[in-house]
Amino acid sequence: MRDLMPLAMVGPGCTVQIACVRGGMRLQRRLADMGLTPGVVVSVLNSQMPGPVILNLRGSRLALGHGMTMRILVRTV
């Protein structure tokens, strides 16, 4: 867990790899349904407050609330 950080801490323009989702089965399942699975590489397009964190994920954009991005752990690539 040493080199992991919450997705919320990643600045715009950075590319990271999803490590895991700290949450219940519902959240994990939902995010997996949207294509956010462990191992997938995403880039952060916008993370300015207020407003959602916008990711480029598998060729499409995904907007997530800041609270949710605190529960998604990533590693730098």
Binding site: R30, D33, M34, G35, G59
Partner: protein
């Protein structure tokens, strides 16, 4: 004859619906335009086909009311064909719903929409190969220019006339999960008309996922 239109949000379902029915349902370039199911009639070659436009969903879990509406319609009303409108420029994400529909054993036709957009991104999609891999018809379309509608209707007719049968896709979930699926499946199959209402394997997988809505359905059947 009933044909359901399914697909991810913003994949062009409502545009396909309008092309088929001649309706002028509101089309918006944002996800979630279709919140309830809409219906229209398509008259084609002397047939009268009821077209049901389902809400756009990413998956068929019971996460949101939209997903429950879409899923229940397909599982319980058993339409004669299900058209999954797929955004060709975003194939990877869209194929997830395709797989879920195939796992349900839905009589599937894939409308590979936004081919122009895929082209302009430099994607070359081997439509025939895709169709072989998923073992269901795939029709390239540009619904915003009303291209591909006739081809889509031809494939829909083949499926509704039972000229082609779409095989249920069996995803192997690994030995441990498969053992439990087999146990549940045999119990479901011997539980009266339950197996007629739901595909047994699909129901077993949903139970293992602790799908809340399916658990409720089963409680009602068992009478508590």
């Amino acid at each position: 004859m009933v044909v359901a239109l399914a697909g991810n949000p913003n994949s062009g379902k409502t545009t396909v619906f309008n092309n088929l029915t001649g309706a002028r349902q509101h089309v918006g370039n944002w996800p979630g335009v279709t919140v309830e199911k809409k219906e229209g009639i398509c008259r084609w070659k002397g047939r009268s086909i009821r077209i049901v436009d389902l809400p756009g969903v990413y998956s068929l879990t019971a996460y949101s009311p939209d997903e429950v509406i879409a899923r229940n319609f397909i599982v319980e009303e058993k339409p004669d064909a299900v058209v999954d409108v797929v955004d060709a420029s975003n194939l990877e994400r869209n194929l997830y719903l395709v797989v879920q529909l195939l796992e349900m054993g839905a009589p599937l036709v894939v409308a590979l929409n936004m081919m122009d957009e895929a082209d302009s991104r430099g994607y070359r999609i081997d439509v025939e190969r895709l169709s072989q891999l998923i073992r269901a018809p795939v029709v390239p379309m540009e619904a915003n220019r009303n291209r591909g509608t006739q081809g889509l209707l031809d494939e829909i007719a083949k499926v509704t006339d039972k000229e082609i049968r779409i095989p249920e896709l069996i995803v192997n979930y690994g030995r441990e999960v498969e053992e439990e699926i087999t146990k549940l499946e045999s119990r479901i199959s011997s539980a009266g008309d339950l197996a007629k209402r739901y595909p047994p394997r699909w129901l077993a997988v949903k139970l293992l996922e602790k799908d809340q809505q399916i658990v409720e359905v089963l409680k009602a059947v068992e009478g508590g």
